[in-house]
Amino acid sequence: MLKARHPLAIVFFPAYDWAISPTHPERQERLLYTQDQLREEGVFDIAGITELKPELATATDVLRAHFCFPDVAAVTTTSHLISAGGAIRAARTVLDKEAKRAFALVRPPGHHAMKVVHGARGFCNINIEAVMLEWLRDQYGPLRAAIVDTDCHHGDGTQDIYWNDPDTLFISLHQDGRTLYPGTGFPLELGGPKALGTTVNVPLPPGTSDEGFLFAMREVVMPLIEDFKPDIIINSAGQDNHFSDPITDMAFSAQGYARLTEMLGADIAVLEGGYSIQGALPYVNLGLVLSMAGLDYSHVREPDFDAAKVRQSAKVTGYIEDVCRDILKEARHPRGPGKGDVVAGWFTRRKTLYYDTDAITEYQTEAVRLCDHCRGVVKYETESTRTPLCLGVEAPIGACEKCVEEAYRIYEAGQIKGEYRHLQLIDRVGKNYATYTG
């Protein structure tokens, strides 16, 4: 009988009674065939593989990672709290050493959800990896974490949340933003002034197949992880790079995903996108599970897989080699923060964000205090076509006394001024999460 070399916990929650709309890619059917495949393969009978039930993330768990306007209840549903809770359950199992690794095979996904949430973007409301990681840091103390996003879409939400966090290395591999939603994730997006080089983007051209992905992993992702020395590696395991995915243009295979997974050796994987629910997900997820558990995955392939038919062109190979070389150089020696202005000791960015799923437009100013003693307090002034001007202030983990004071001063002054409809404070030092409606 089979025995996992790395004991693996799988939190499987297909949310069979939840859909964005009946024919939306995020619908009841999405993980049905994956479950069929895993059960038929007897994955849960393998010694060392256990199936766990998700828990429900709380509003506080969400407020630790996000500014939600008008409030948590308005921008989440139970399904989002279960999905995030599934990721939390997976992570807890690893940190408590009940399993070596864990895979949260849950939906809906989260990597397009940014720090400020007004609604749903790219099928995501809350960032389940961020809710999970901040829960981990709250429970187990400061952790250096690497998040590697292998979804086909740029993980713009995760990037936004960790933009100013030097203790989180965020690397996204994705189809070039010039050819796919959300249209971001270029090599010069490298993080905020206090976290330069801990955001890394590897845009890959349409048609990239196993060779290209594994090249980028070997030449960029793994060396940067080695430099960073994380305590924990998290994989945002989107599966829409698959050659059969209906909404993307890449040529990755189940074998390729399994090999990438083996190379990365993530402690925790969290499912993100992936909408070829019959032709890809059953095989990709099986490959991921076997690879994470340290089992033979060499027989896992799509029934119609023909490597020669999907293999990337020589031109694509050459392009990827050039891009990867440049990216590694930029990430190791960033040339200074990108777009933004320094105003009275604060580094300020202005963003206009579109929530495609909910058709909301948000206008936001993010400002981080340039502090010599810590990462600096961060504040967000934001309004959207749905909600009037709101304020979010965060004293991050490790904030100095001055920055914590500053966070409270801004939050209280904002209440008195009366120009904000909703205000939210995140104090990671004092573990205080407050909201106020003016």
């Binding site: 499987f12 929650f13 069979y16 009946p22 024919t23 049905l32 038929e40 039930k53 279960i82 027989h299």
Partner: protein, 560 residues
Amino acid sequence: MLCGIDVGGTHTDAVLIGPDGVVACAKLPTNHDDLLASIREALASIAAVAGPAAVTRLTLSTTLTTNAIIEGTADPVGVLVSGGPGIDPAAYAMGAYYHVLAGAIDHRGRQTGALDLDAARAVINAWEAAGVRAFAAVTKFSTRCPDQELALEALLAGRCDCVSLGHAFSGRLGFGRRIATACLNSAVWRVYNRFCDAVERSAAELGMAGASINVLKADGGTMPLSVSRTLPVQSILSGPAASVMGIIAVCDIAEDSIILDIGGTTTDIAVFAAGAPLIENEGIAIAGRPTLVRALRTRSIGVGGDSAITVSREAIQVGPRRLGPPMALGGPVPTLVDALNIQNVIAVGDPRASYQGILAVATANGFEPEEVAEAAILNAVNQIRSEVAAFVREINDRPVYTIFELLEGRQVRPTRVYVMGGPALALSALLQDAFTQEVVVPESFAVANAIGAALARPTFSVELFADTASGRLTIPSLGITRQVADNYSQAAAEGEAATSLRHYLASIGAEAEDAPIETVELSSFPMVEGQTLVGHNIRVACQVRPGVSAAYKQAVSKSC
């Protein structure tokens, strides 16, 4: 009248029950090498009291197939499988005759790789020449499309004694379980059928030709002997089910409860939800191999009357090993029974031997013998309590797949603990201290397991799978595969599953009123391609839950 015979490892128990209660019962030592002799003897002693004509239904629970599998005396089986993409089927190899053929079926039941029939023919020829007479044919996802298994069956026609097809056992998924189930079924086929012949002959010789003969299964239900001839694997591991069905018959269990059966080497734990025993999600494992054979959900720990006591300065522990009988009965090391003996809770054998034994291990570690005895008893009770708690937690923590179930799913909250077995009464006061639930010790009934066998009802389950996009419907365990219209609905599917199950039960002679059918799974997924709804993926599971004949239950019920 109903007759039940439970052939256990040590004893063979028999009972005859009439409308007014137990008419006759017998307890005989089991002849391990000749189970039929034990059954004949038990039947003869029943016939001697009530006359052979009195028996209208006979139900057997035997260890025949279990022993053959565990002791490796079953026949070699030629196992033909096709796997397609996924885990290497070599991982599920069984025996010396196991061959993986090219061929593949996907999760929707589409053939994505042709079965290599030429290779199959060559393998069958070679195995036939080697003297293999029993075969199994199993393909991945054969529950969604049995065609490749049926093609292999056709190749084998007339060339062997039996062919077990994977999809015939269950509609549940699990390729490795399906392989093990089909293979074991063929392995015990010959020995089981010979046994059935002999049982029928014996019944006729004893003048019981009019009695219907049934066999107890691990899920606490019965099946007619004639049906069991093609599904002998369904008769494995029925022993614990006999005991559990016995307590259902004797006690009126209506709420969530725990059943503890404290034996010589183990304590067996079963859980009841609203008075019905819980069934294993997937199937029971035998000889280390998980199967698709349905079974009651039970758990066993190595704490029993004969469990050895180990003493160190740090800890005093009971079990999990049994190294012989208690010292009071001439055993080599002190056991739980010896501890109970010196605390005057029971009086078994020679209490002085118990005392000497415990005194020796106590002195060696700087304890008083009473201290050791007390700590050992407490340890046994605590182990049982924490195992029960873990079991209930595991049941309540089972994965669910809908938001509704996650938020509203029923939780099992036992309110009573029923304790049976030798040390039951002795431990009841301590168990009452350990459990917050009410502890009940049913009046001792030496042949409760035989009563369980006698009164058990037939059980069966069907899984229906309909894919209206591809126009296919299967009910694997009934061998049904048919076309289905694109307007086929979830309600129609539920109706068809229940009707098919009812017809099957009628065809094997089960009384309908005795066998309420319940739907345990019902789902319908809209299937979308592009932006278009192309059909529905419908899954239904119906079952007849284990239970006892209502008409006779009254006759044996006691106040518990």
